[in-house]
């Protein structure tokens, strides 16, 4: 009998300890994140930075009471595109039903996030998520009154991203045609990771894929378009690279947000491109969204250049700032400096969005004077927050509104690894004159024209060109 009582009391306290979500002065935020990867660890660091700052400044205060943020995590492992979406579903379910969190902030891989949405809607749990698929906003729109309203997409979707990403290759082709750079990138291959967010660009592959058609309108000559395998047969991408070399590829446009790129880039750097007649033996220019390429840490396990055995030399990657010490808003540099000071590592593209989410969530809670999701939602919908990466405002379907005229509300940012092993700022969509809409996305042909500036450009053969300006003709 005594044993039963002791077990019962102990069990009660254990239950309270492990499942307490909100003590009287705590707001618990559940974060389903790919914590088994550098990407997820970095995003958690950004979240923790925000939480530490907010808590140190008195926390979230309303009705005369201050609440401290507390983060509870669940490792979904979703940065690896081969991981099943069930991991994400398990994550949000566990955080909601076991940890009883007040809010959810997290998510990374779009197909995982999409799978999580019905669960979140069912439990009416407010969720700020960072997937890139337009399907997230579509879900909110179609299910707003039956749970969709609890979901906010705190990251740019693929349409918003493409409006800025899609122009960088065109600027570089113009730069070649104007004689500003010696690198001809006309023959372009398109590689994407096999994930939901690349479907809009890659489709089912082949030269009729959407991105190949768009590049064709812009004056490129696409040579290849397909997804690349996560774990290549034989452990090497040489068979794929041989195909690209035989095709005379001059540039490779890559879309990869997972952890699989170090091997691909390592192979790309090691490959002998002598059979590529179009580049006269030089490796093709590599550009695109490669999240892992943003890691500029001090050790072999956190520095992409070292991870790829120098294969990343001259690779260009673009994301959202501030990944380097660049100023996009008044809070960019303070955030960057605080992040580096705390974690000895630069922030990556998603970090500004994660960091901002805790701030504008806090503002919405304070304005609502409540942690009840139904009370918070109307204030969250009115968010107008300036974060380190740009301005956060939401559309009616809870996606980010990213106007690009006269200048993008959330500017894209490009970087390039040089042969010296360092990561340099290359381009920002703010570096246009007189305003951003220097070029429209083909085939519209309604671009206003203007100039776009670049810095620190290095050719694939290691020639440092430095700074140059591209003239973008009107009507492109």
């Amino acid at each position: 009998m005594v044993i039963l009582i002791v077990a019962g009391v102990g069990g009660y306290f254990a239950y309270k300890y492990y499942t307490t979500s909100s003590s009287s002065n705590t707001i618990t935020v559940g974060m389903p994140m790919p914590l088994n990867s550098l990407i997820g660890q970095n995003m958690l660091d950004a979240a923790q930075l925000a939480v530490n700052q907010i808590n140190a400044a008195g926390g979230v205060t309303f009705n005369g009471t201050s609440y401290q943020y507390k983060i509870v995590t669940y490792d979904t492992q979703e940065a690896d595109p081969s991981i099943p979406i069930q991991n994400g579903i398990n994550g949000v379910t566990s955080l909601i039903t076991t940890n009883h969190v007040n809010f959810l902030v997290g998510g990374y891989r779009s197909d995982v996030v999409l799978a999580e949405l019905p669960i979140v809607a069912q439990y009416k749990e407010l969720y700020i998520t960072f997937g890139a698929d337009t399907g997230i906003s579509t879900y909110v729109q179609q299910n707003y009154s039956v749970g969709g309203k609890y979901i906010f997409n705190g990251f740019l979707n693929t349409t918003n991203q493409g409006a800025q990403y899609g122009t960088l290759p065109i600027y570089l082709l113009l730069a070649y045609m104007e004689g500003k750079i010696p690198t001809n990138i006309t023959k372009i291959a398109i590689l994407g990771e096999d994930a939901a967010w690349t479907k809009a660009d890659i489709g089912s592959g082949g030269l009729s894929c959407p991105l190949a058609i768009a590049f064709g309108y812009a004056g490129f000559q696409p040579t290849y378009c397909n997804v690349f395998p996560l774990n290549p047969s034989g452990g090497s991408y040489d068979s794929l690279l041989s195909t690209l070399a035989a095709d005379g590829t001059q540039a490779i446009y890559m879309l990869a947000a997972g952890t699989e790129t170090p091997l691909l880039i390592s192979n790309y750097g090691a490959f002998d491109w002598s059979t590529d007649a179009a580049t006269h033996g030089a490796k093709p220019l590599l550009l695109g969204a490669d999240v892992m390429a943003e890691f500029n840490g001090n050790s072999a396990s956190t520095n992409y250049y070292q991870m790829t055995s120098a294969g990343a030399a001259d690779e260009m990657t673009f994301g959202w700032g501030p990944t380097l010490a660049q100023s996009f808003t008044s809070t960019s540099l303070p955030f960057y400096n605080d992040f580096v000071a705390n974690y000895s590592q630069n922030p990556i593209f998603a970090d500004g969005f994660v960091y901002s989410a805790f701030y504008y969530l806090a503002s919405a809670i304070e304005a609502a004077k409540s942690i009840n999701a139904n009370a918070v939602i109307p204030y969250l919908e009115k968010t107008d927050f300036t974060g380190p990466m740009g301005i956060i405002t939401f559309s009616s379907s809870h996606g980010l509104l990213v106007p690009i005229n006269p200048n993008p509300a959330i500017p894209a940012f490009g970087m390039q690894w040089h042969k010296d092993g360092k990561l340099y700022p290359l381009w920002s969509s703010l570096w246009s004159s007189p305003n951003y809409a220097a070029v429209d996305i083909p085939p519209y042909g309604t671009g206003a024209g203007g100039t776009v500036s670049f810095e620190n450009f290095e050719t694939p053969s290691g020639q440092l060109i430095g700074n140059f300006t591209v003239v973008v003709p009107k009507g492109l």
Binding site: N36, D80, N231, S233, G234, D238, T243, T259
Partner: protein, 292 residues
């Protein structure tokens, strides 16, 4: 088709030598002890992760990292063998326990390294490729091929030309009679296990720097070793060589024909193995006996 002929021939030959190195230890162990050790591929993974731990996380020199990793793999190999022999002495239970050990090791490394995939480790051989007959060739596979040939010659000499080699062959032929002649059978098995583990560990140390480290990476070398052993004939040590090349050329052809295919070459590997089990159950090395 003409465009992929040169890369298929060159890479097929290089991969074939690599497969010989990977499969040698597996076949040697089965040939001597008549046990199928399904934890064999896990030693490949152990070596890779240990190199990552020493060289990348601790900053130890690559030579020392490789040496320590190989020694650890040998130790793990011996420990696994002793565990299986002690608690699962019959072949079927040995098979099951060794597979479970491989899975256990996978989850241990997944736990310790947070399940991270795509880890790259430094190597002893530069990875910068060079052109040979119009094909970009990796020095990793060239050097691995050379090491494979060298080790094959050393092993052949050890088994055929030395006193201890005679002891090993006697034990393989009839362990009970060998024991009656004073041969310490258990010691012979342990020596063979150590050599077998060392072979797969050396293969990992040479090859993995050109690939990547991830928790389930043990499956591919296991598949290679198993398929080569089946195609060559289980226990038929020297028939490993033609079997390895048959497999490598088939897989490389598929890889170049379908460069973005996922797992197609592994599908081919298993199909080849199944085909041989059905048509030639004793493998290439048993053709004469089957014909008789």
């Amino acid at each position: 088709m003409a465009g992929i002929l040169a890369p298929v021939l060159i890479d097929g030959a290089l991969y074939g030598c690599t497969y010989v190195l990977i499969a040698l230890g597996f076949t040697l162990l089965f040939g001597i002890s008549r046990v199928l050790n399904l934890a064999y591929g896990a030693l490949y993974m152990v070596t890779a992760y240990m190199i990552y731990y020493f060289a990348v996380e601790l900053g130890v020199s690559i030579v020392l990292s490789v040496l320590m990793a190989v020694l650890i793999a040998i130790g793990v190999g011996i420990a696994v063998f002793l565990l299986c022999v002690r608690f699962a002495p019959d072949p079927m239970r040995f098979l099951i326990v060794s597979l479970l050990v491989a899975l256990l090791l996978q989850y241990v490394f997944e736990y310790y390294f947070f399940g991270e995939t795509g880890l790259i480790i430094p190597g002893l051989i530069p990875i910068k490729e060079f052109l040979f007959l119009g094909v970009s060739v990796s020095p990793v596979y060239v050097d691995t091929a050379a090491v494979s040939v060298g080790l094959l010659i050393v092993l052949w000499w050890w088994i055929e030309g030395t006193e201890y080699g005679r002891t090993i062959r006697a034990t393989a032929e009839d362990p009970e009679t060998a024991s009656l002649f004073g041969i310490r059978v258990r010691t012979v098995y342990l020596v063979v296990v150590a050599v077998s583990s060392a072979l797969v560990a050396v293969a990992a140390a040479l090859i993995v720097p050109a690939q990547e480290v991830y928790p389930s990476m043990w499956i591919e070398p296991f598949v290679i070793a198993f398929v080569v052993a089946v195609v060559g004939g289980l226990g038929k040590f020297y028939w490993t060589i033609p079997a390895a090349f048959l497999l490598s050329f088939t897989q490389v052809f598929v890889e170049y024909q379908y460069p973005t295919s996922v797992s197609l070459s592994d599908i081919v590997a298993f199909a080849v193995a199944i085909g041989f089990i059905i048509i030639l159950p004793r493998g290439i090395g048993g053709i004469r006996r089957d014909a008789a």
